[in-house]
């Protein structure tokens, strides 16, 4: 999502695979955002960015961790923070809940507002049928160039 080398980034489709393999999602959005629309995955922690410095130790160091937020910006900063605090198994999910919902991945709540916003802000600007097609599935080694 942004040009940096500190944190590895993966796309939502790859995140699905990580989750299936037991990775923990850490959602750093604020409480009201989560109440509106949440990721629906088995292993998830909610640690809002505003509480992150006090609570980051709740995140296990011995598990694979995927940081998530709405669009991938806040979670990237949180992932960088964890890397700087000795977490080795942390990655950031690019494009956040917006892309996750666009792809039809599981959520709890109302996706309409986030998808409406995404229609005007997405870099891909694809139709819903195209959204189902993952750039990562087509090219698993091409994670860095996922749209």
């Amino acid at each position: 999502m942004e040009n940096q080398t500190l944190v590895k980034e993966i796309c939502p489709t790859t995140t699905q695979r990580w989750v299936a393999n037991g990775a923990i999602l850490v959602d750093v959005r604020e409480k009201d955002e989560v109440a509106q629309l949440a990721y629906d995955v088995p292993n998830i922690l909610h640690i809002p960015l505003t509480q992150f410095e006090e609570r980051f130790t709740e995140i296990p160091k011995d598990k694979e961790v995927v940081m998530v937020c709405k669009s991938g910006g806040r979670s990237l900063r949180a992932a960088g923070f964890l890397v700087n605090h000795g977490y080795d198994n942390v990655v950031n999910m690019k494009h956040g809940l917006i892309r996750w919902a666009q792809k039809g991945f599981p959520t709890k709540g109302d996706t309409s507002s986030i998808l409406q916003n995404a229609a005007t802000s997405s870099c891909c600007n694809t139709s819903s049928s195209e959204n189902k097609k993952s750039c990562c599935i087509d090219s698993p080694k091409n994670e860095s160039s996922c749209c």
Binding site: N3, T50, F52, F81, N84
Partner: protein
């Protein structure tokens, strides 16, 4: 000379903080280097979570909100 850094991704709050810093430096007539840091990698080096962040001489003074002119004056007079 003071070194003042405003860190943030370029959001409206970051721009307001930067503008406030410029205004205070002008008002006080002090010598200061004002640096805007928008690069995410650079921000992560400072362990920045919430933005904007105001740093004076590499000490974080305000984070996660706009730094108001009065408080910036206070920091610079210290």
């Amino acid at each position: 000379m003071k070194t003042i850094k405003v860190l943030g991704p370029g959001c409206p709050k970051c721009k307001t903080t930067f503008h406030n810093v410029e205004e205070v430096v002008k008002q006080l007539g002090i010598e200061a280097e004002i640096i805007k840091i928008e690069d995410i990698e650079e921000m992560m080096k400072y362990n920045i979570l919430t933005t904007p962040v105001l740093m004076i001489d590499d000490v974080i003074k305000v984070k996660g909100r706009i730094a108001q002119t009065d408080e910036i004056k206070g920091f610079l007079k210290q």
